[in-house]
């Protein structure tokens, strides 16, 4: 029974961690701009995050080391420092975007001033992190994030062209607008494979004291959890394609995404959509703050973890508080959360190889993994994805500039 419960928690955490503001923005925008043509990118991104999450969960269960422990030991101090700086910058950008998203969702529900809500949201998240156990954080944000299922209902109710949607699952070259299309491919992959997801996942596995006996649970969590996240992403893209493409609407706000549930389902659809967005981006805010603190603590060799009291891991605690404060300052400058999201996703793409290459190396290392090292399938998939990641990492910034951040 506890295994089933553990699986449920893992799945909920994976759903909460997968569908963040980047996925919301990029999936709906891709649907609004290219209809069903980019659906094929979602399964590719989902399989990628499953492959690497399974690997780092396995590394955590076998070696008791989270990703950043392994990064530092395996690639040396200088390369690890570069990875740390890149990941902390991207984490902070992502956190600020998520925090802005929480404030926007609260504003759409309450009508209160946005700036007040930024501070309120940050304080609320701080209190939740300070007083709530890891399990309860997973439950609150995981279950709340399930409200996003409303987008699947909305997509079905709007009767998409299932034939065209099926054709969209087959990778193909676009008829026009190739650069913007490529930009969205990169963005969708980046949103699906954001580095903080694996940092959080592997650190969580160490915190929950996984052992090799939990490897089945690890695999099930990764496959079912991220698979469900991919399901949400498909629903969001279908919504964008069905509702916005024909009307020429380019989603620029989180409120636009919520309209995708309001139009077919009315007020209840709208409220569920905003609540789902609130919990999804709220959960992602906590994931990113923790990831930032995990990375620094693991790199520096400090005590870390939510299962230790705040007093027993003071530098870890101080790190997440500082990150929270920096996030508030960034959002209070008035930067647009959706625009910040796009930059965060694209910059995270650049940092992807720095995260995933060390994971692949460690998962293949006999000294760490013994008989649990990568099998043939994991290696083939790992190396194929590494090539994909390198290509998208090299093309991300040029595409962002050449397409004027996807505007064409």
């Amino acid at each position: 029974m506890s295994k089933v419960f553990g699986l449920a928690l893992g799945i909920l955490a994976a759903v909460g961690g997968f569908v963040d503001i980047g996925d919301l923005v990029f999936n709906v925008s891709a649907g609004a701009m290219f209809g069903y043509e980019l659906l094929w990118v979602i399964p590719i991104g989902v399989v990628g995050i499953i492959v690497f999450s399974e690997m780092c969960g396995r590394v955590a269960a076998v070696s008791k080391k989270a990703v950043f422990d392994a990064v530092r030991e395996r690639v040396g101090f200088k390369a690890a420092l570069g990875t740390l700086i890149a990941s902390e910058v991207v984490n902070l950008m992502t956190f600020a975007a998520e925090l802005g998203g929480v404030a926007i969702a609260l504003q759409l529900l309450s009508g209160l001033p946005y700036r007040w809500l930024i501070v309120l949201a940050a304080l609320g998240l701080g209190v939740v992190i300070w007083v709530t156990s890891f399990d309860w954080i997973e439950r609150i944000f995981g279950y709340g994030g399930l409200c996003l299922l409303v987008f699947a209902v909305a997509a079905v109710k709007m009767s998409p062209d299932w034939g065209e949607a099926g054709a969209g699952l087959v990778p193909h070259v676009p008829q026009s607008n190739a650069m913007v299309y490529a930009y969205f491919v990169v963005g969708l992959l980046g949103a699906a494979m954001t580095p903080y997801e694996v940092y959080f996942y592997s650190s969580g596995a160490v915190e929950e004291e996984w052992t090799p006996k939990d490897l089945g649970l690890n695999r099930a969590n990764a496959i079912i959890g991220y698979g469900l996240g991919g399901f949400f992403s498909i629903a969001l893209m279908l919504t964008g394609a069905t509702l916005f493409l024909g009307r020429g609407i380019e989603p620029e706000h989180l409120g636009t995404i919520a309209l995708g549930a309001e139009v077919p389902l009315g007020e209840i659809g709208l409220v569920l959509a905003i609540v789902g967005i609130l919990f999804a981006v709220g959960g992602a805010s906590i994931d990113t703050v923790f990831s930032g603190a995990y990375n620094l603590a693991q790199f520096c060799g400090w005590e870390w973890g939510r299962y230790r009291t705040n007093a027993r891991a003071p530098r870890f605690t101080l790190t997440w508080i500082v990150l929270l404060a920096l996030g508030i300052l960034i959002v209070l400058t008035g930067v647009d959360a959706v625009v910040l999201t796009e930059y965060a996703v694209i910059f995270s793409v650049v940092a992807l190889p720095l995260t995933y290459l060390p994971i692949l190396l460690v998962a293949n290392d006999d000294a760490y993994m013994g008989r649990y090292r990568n099998g043939r399938l994991a290696n083939v998939l790992g190396f194929v994805y590494l090539v994909v990641i390198l290509v998208v990492a090299l093309s991300a910034i040029p595409l962002m500039i050449l397409t004027n951040v996807g505007q064409g």
């Binding site: 504003q107 609407i249 409120g255 309001e262 007020e267 409220v271 040029p398 500039i401 004027n404």
Partner: protein, 131 residues
């Protein structure tokens, strides 16, 4: 390597920004975005007209769209333009201001179904059709 990369990136960014001058391509993009704002506003207004939305959502979201349209109106009214398109750019600025005006009305009456229906029609007309 870095010595070559930095100027290249700066050049690309400048090419993308076009030095702040509105050219025909940028104007087309701005028009498309304005149509998008108007159509999205029409969708919000349709929700008000059919009592399908919440008052808070209609008020907040129509205001976000109004701010977008106003920003376009201000920018297009004052930015330097490429030779030969200045009148078009200023006309588009006035168009943006009209969209912002209609959205302001929706923002101020988010519970009024009649205003919802009227603003929906106005915004669809300003967008030149939304379906």
């Amino acid at each position: 390597m870095a010595g070559r990369t930095v100027p290249l990136v700066a050049l690309l960014i400048l090419a993308g920004c076009n030095g702040g001058t509105v050219d025909r391509h940028a104007l087309e993009n701005d028009r498309k975005t304005l149509d998008s704002i108007a159509c999205e506003g029409a969708l919000v207004a349709d929700g008000v007209a059919h009592d399908r939305t919440t008052v808070v959502f209609a008020r907040v979201h129509s205001d976000e769209l109004r701010i977008d349209a106003s920003n376009f109106a201000d920018a297009l009214a004052s930015r330097a333009t490429e030779p030969g398109i200045e009148r078009e750019v200023r006309r588009t600025a006035r168009h943006a201001a009209r969209i912002a005006g209609v959205l302001k009305r929706l923002h101020e009456h988010p519970a009024n179904r009649v205003v919802g229906a009227v603003t929906e029609r106005s915004l669809e007309q300003l967008a030149g059709g939304c379906s």
